[in-house]
């Protein structure tokens, strides 16, 4: 049993420059599976929820799952769990590419990083040892330079991940980047920066065996067949992703008046088509790049030629909102450069863009002056957008304020600017509008990591299978999606696999790989267990039911094709209460003792 696991975790102490290998108990593999499950289990046991996220006591947990490194398609993600400096709560974050298999090839299922380095360093993990290597020459260097440096020192066959200047400067939404993919949201890069850790490298050759090779191989073939049918259809969602990436088109969202524009004051961006992927195909040499083992290859690499040439992997659809419509930027070159800056500095494009949009509105309203900023930060001003990103990463001038994110900016600026600081729990909104989609409103307000779009009924609401505006029945649907996505993130599945693969297939793959005998109920229960454990941690960290809220702008009317529509505050609050009931929580959103017992949850920090 458990053949697909290494069955060991690696604990690295940066302060002592020591490490230790520990067995993962069978019960933990059985009840938490892997990936997000392992990360949440260990973090909630070991980190005091009350500490500051940039305190040495915080930990970074990189976790793979049982299907990582196998031939099953779309299990390339590494999960990262830590306490977020943006939300002060627990965060789970994912990065595709090739890192997960490289980590697992060193003989560990997860790596827990503790303490802090005394000087800027990177860490190398091999099956035999862990090395702590000072790298003062990488101070202030971009992500690409850092990763290339580490590969040059340790070998091209390393999997690497690094922070840029934003992480070193503790920008609250700094990211960690691994080649063409990113641990984007929640400031994990700042946590790494607070540990003086410039990069991590994994170098190993250990493979993955499975419990039942014959059955596993059959299930893998079936999964590939499902994805082939999807990608053969150029009009299916995965068909579009495989040809154009996630930026295949914003027009449908625009038609539904659900494309957040001008800091969420509008739901329609007239020139959205100017910044979708087809625009990049005309401007750059483009090619597709896949994550490990994936047949969808949604990654788009664009190389811009010429004197100021550069190359960038993206932008994704989400960035076409945050650094596009939300800032009223319809210039694809500006957007590509902005995206590239975030790649090099290591910053979350969503939080960065949404924060700049907030600053643009503050400037428009006179809450921030030209003297404060140093230039005209107008909506639609591409040059100003790029300049703001630079200052943000460097924490220079107004950048020092921008680097704090919308929640802290609103606190400092005052004047009720929190009204339009588009975040929930401090996490800036992803590319979806709570004003227009009630399922999104609920999941943004209640997600443990803040305004998380990965756990919403986006497709169903947009395509009309579910009524967009009505709150009826959304509580149960959203809770169900949250649990399901959690369960998938233990394997560790890409979010998109769920668009085509039925849940039974995920479970068959898990069982054939590990010898487990899970059914759908078991699997979803695991997702629910993890959700509740996160919730308990957040409550102890001070995130009460008051944080299950949205900024006031979300309850104001917005123009939809000549009409005014809005999210009704009373209906929203009733929906949240219904959600608590569905989850077996009390009226303050605290998991009841009955629920905790059913899910087998302890409270280690009490």
């Amino acid at each position: 049993m458990f053949e697909a696991y290494n069955r060991n975790l690696l604990r690295i102490n940066l302060t002592d420059k020591s490490f230790q290998v520990e067995e993962i108990p069978a019960e933990v593999m059985d009840k938490f599976i892997g990936g997000m499950g392992f990360g949440v289990y260990y973090l909630t046991r070991e980190v005091d929820p009350a500490i500051d996220a940039l305190d040495m006591g915080n930990k970074l947990i990189f976790a793979t799952g049982p299907l990582t490194g196998t031939g099953a398609p779309m299990f390339a993600q590494t999960a990262l769990v830590t306490k977020s400096p943006l939300t002060n709560g627990i965060i789970n974050c994912y990065c595709g590419g090739n890192l997960a298999q490289k980590l697992k090839s060193t003989g560990y299922d997860l790596v827990i990083i503790e303490g802090a380095c005394s000087q800027l360093s990177y860490v190398l993990v091999t099956p035999d040892t862990v090395k702590f290597i000072p790298c003062p020459e990488l101070q202030g260097k971009g992500v690409r330079e850092a990763e290339e440096y580490i590969s040059a020192q340790e070998g091209e066959d390393c999997g690497t991940a690094a922070i840029g200047l934003a992480g070193e400067n503790l920008v609250r939404f700094a990211s960690i980047i691994s080649s063409t993919r990113v641990f984007g949201r929640g400031g994990t890069g700042a946590v790494m920066g607070s540990k003086n850790l410039k990069g991590v490298a994994f170098k190993g050759t250990i493979g993955v065996k499975v419990h039942n090779p014959r059955v596993f191989a059959l299930k893998v073939d079936e999964a590939f067949a499902v994805f082939k049918i999807a990608t053969d259809n150029p009009y299916s969602l995965l068909g579009v992703f495989s040809r154009y990436g996630t930026g295949g088109g914003m027009s449908l969202i625009n038609e539904r008046y659900a494309l957040a524009t001008r800091n969420h004051t509008q739901a329609h961006f007239a020139t959205a088509d100017k910044i979708d992927t087809t625009a990049y195909h005309k401007l750059a040499n483009s090619r597709r790049i896949a994550c490990f083992g994936c047949p969808i290859h949604c990654g788009q690499l664009h190389s811009f030629q010429g004197k100021d040439g550069f190359f960038t992997r993206g932008p994704e659809y989400e960035t076409m909102y945050s650094l596009g419509s939300d800032c009223c930027n319809d210039d694809p070159l500006v957007l590509a450069r902005a995206h590239n800056l975030c790649e090099e500095y290591g910053m979350d494009t969503l939080s960065a863009g949404c924060t700049i949009a907030f600053a643009m509105e503050c400037y428009e309203r006179g809450f921030l002056s030209s003297e404060d900023i140093g230039f005209s930060l107008d909506f639609g001003n591409g040059e100003a957008l790029l300049k703001a990103l630079e200052l943000m990463a460097r924490r220079q001038g107004i950048g020092d304020l921008l680097a704090e994110g919308t929640r802290i900016m609103a606190e400092k600026i005052g004047r009720d600017s929190a009204h339009f600081a588009m975040n929930s729990k401090g996490m800036e909104f992803a590319a979806w509008m709570p004003q227009r989609m009630s399922g999104i409103a609920l999941t943004f307000a209640t997600s443990n990591r803040g305004a998380c779009h990965k756990r919403g009924p986006i497709g169903q609401e947009l395509m009309g299978e579910l009524p967009m505006e009505s709150t009826e029945g959304k509580a149960k649907i959203v809770a169900g999606i949250q649990d399901k996505v959690n369960a998938l993130f233990t394997l560790v599945s890409c979010r998109f696999a769920d668009f085509e693969l039925p849940i039974e297939m995920f479970i068959s793959l898990l069982n054939a790989a590990t010898g487990m005998n899970k059914d759908v109920t078991d699997f979803l229960d695991i997702g629910e267990r993890i959700w509740n454990l996160e919730r308990l941690f957040n409550l102890a960290a001070g995130l009460s039911s008051e944080s299950d809220m949205l900024p006031a702008r979300c309850f104001e009317p917005i123009e939809v094709d000549g009409e005014l529509k809005s999210l009704n505050r009373e209906e929203f609050e009733a929906m949240v209460q219904e959600y608590y009931q569905v989850r077996g929580w009390d009226q303050q959103g605290v998991p009841s003792s009955v629920t905790r017992k059913r899910l087998g949850l302890e409270l280690p920090w009490k």
Partner: protein, 128 residues
């Protein structure tokens, strides 16, 4: 014969996973007979045995562990191989893979090339 179209290759490595699973019942790119060298944004390169007419790997082997059989396929006698890696260095196509003390050379899987079955873009395909 294996055909490679680097323009279509997305570097997903599904081919490598299929190879190691078919040959070793293990998912391990390091034991795959194919490797892909990609340094984005440049085009990737596939490294795999081409069944040369005059195989330099066979010539380089000091203990005659390598021989060329029918269809020009290279055969390895693991009993004789001392893992000196001279064949690895000799191959101009970097097609001899090595992992944990063993060398691996593609034997075409009887001309079936199961690796080509999992390629989602036909970057790798078989002919003849």
């Amino acid at each position: 014969m294996l055909i490679y179209d680097s323009k279509s290759c997305t570097e997903c490595q599904a081919c490598r996973l299929k190879c190691s699973f078919v040959k070793e019942t293990e998912y391990n790119p390091a034991k795959s007979r194919l490797s892909i060298k990609g340094k984005w944004p440049q085009m990737p390169v596939l490294k795999v045995c081409r069944q040369c007419q005059n195989p330099l790997c066979v010539k380089a082997c000091p203990v005659s562990a390598l021989s060329q059989e029918e269809q020009r396929i290279i055969s390895i006698d693991y009993g004789l191989c001392s893992d000196c890696k001279l064949c690895v260095q000799a191959c101009p196509f970097e097609a001899v893979q090595t992992c944990a003390g063993k060398i691996y050379i593609c034997d075409t899987c009887k001309g079936e090339y199961p690796c080509t079955e999992v390629c989602s873009t036909e970057a790798i395909s078989k002919k003849g």
